[in-house]
Amino acid sequence: MKKRIFRLFFAWQDQAEEKWLTEMAEQGFHFSKYKFGLYTFKKAEAADYVYKLDYKGSSDQDLEEYVTFFEDAGWEHVDRFHGWHYFRKVKNGSEEEPVIYSDRHSESQKYKSLVNFLIPIFLMTVAIFLTIIVPNRPNASMIEVMKWLYIVLISMYVFAIVRVRLKVRKLQK
C-alpha cells in the first residue's frame, strides 16, 4: 500500500524534514519518493530508521562515488530531488543517533553550497521585480538597458541549457 502526502519544507527546515520522515517510519510508513512537495510512503512494518538529508551542489559526475561513501557507512540512498539526497539507516537501540556529518566544518559546506544555489534564484527574482517596477518610471534609457540585459541573459540561459542537455544525452548513450 502506498500513501502520498503533500508537505512543504523550506530550505532551512531539513532537520525538521528528517525528523518527520523518521517519525513516519515509526508508524510503518517508509519514505520512498519525493517530487515537488509530494512524498510517497510505502506501508510496511514499523522500523527504527534514521533519515538524513544531504545537499550536494556539485555536478553528478561523481555521484556514484558520493553514494558509495554513504553505502560503505551503512546508509541506503532512498531518493534524490535536484541537489537534495535522502539517506536512511536502521538505528540499533543502544547506538547513538548515526550522523552523516561528524564535524561542524564540513557540515557548514552543505549549507554554503545550498546558499550558492539560492543566490542566482534570488537575483532572478530581483530582476523580475525591477522590470515590473521600472516601466512605471519615465526613465526610458533604463528600460532600454534592462531590455538588452535580458536579451543577453536569456541567450546565455538558452545556450547553457542546450549545452548541458547535450552533455546529458551524450552520457546516457
Binding site: 556539485s58 561513501f69 560503505d72 546508509w75 550522523v99 566544518h105 564540513s106 554554503k112
Partner: protein
C-alpha cells in the same frame, strides 16, 4: 573564500588531519574510514558526508590527489608533497599545543603538591 576556512590558514581540522594521515598510503574512502577507526580504537569516526566533503576540499587544495585510473565506484587517493608538508606542519602545531597544556598543568600540579 571565507576567513574561517581552516585550509586557507594552513591549519587542518581534526577530520582533515586524520584523512590526510590515512592518505600517507594510497587508500579509498572505505579504507580511510576503517583505518581511522582502527587507529583511534573507534574513538574518532567520520560520517560519510563529512568524508566526501573533506576529500573534495583536500583535492581542490591539492593536498591529496587521485591515485591510479580512478575507474570504478571507489576512487583511491594519496597525499601530495604539499599535503605531506602541511601534515608535518600541523603535527608540530598540535605538539606545541600539547606541550603548552602540559607545562601549565604541571606547574599547577607542583603548586598543589
Amino acid at each position: 573564500m571565507a576567513r574561517n576556512d581552516s585550509l586557507e590558514t594552513g591549519e587542518l581540522t581534526d577530520t582533515s588531519f586524520y584523512i590526510l594521515l590515512s592518505l600517507v598510503e594510497a587508500r579509498h574512502g572505505y579504507l580511510i574510514m576503517q583505518n581511522i577507526e582502527e587507529l583511534t580504537d573507534g574513538g574518532f569516526s567520520i560520517g560519510p558526508a563529512s568524508m566526501y566533503t573533506t576529500i573534495k576540499k583536500l583535492l581542490s587544495a591539492e593536498l591529496i590527489e587521485q591515485y591510479g585510473d580512478g575507474k570504478g565506484k571507489r576512487k583511491t587517493y594519496i597525499a601530495t608533497d604539499k599535503g605531506l608538508k602541511l601534515l608535518e606542519k600541523d603535527i608540530k602545531r598540535r605538539e606545541q599545543m600539547i606541550f603548552h597544556a602540559k607545562q601549565v598543568l604541571n606547574q599547577k600540579g607542583d603548586r598543589l603538591g
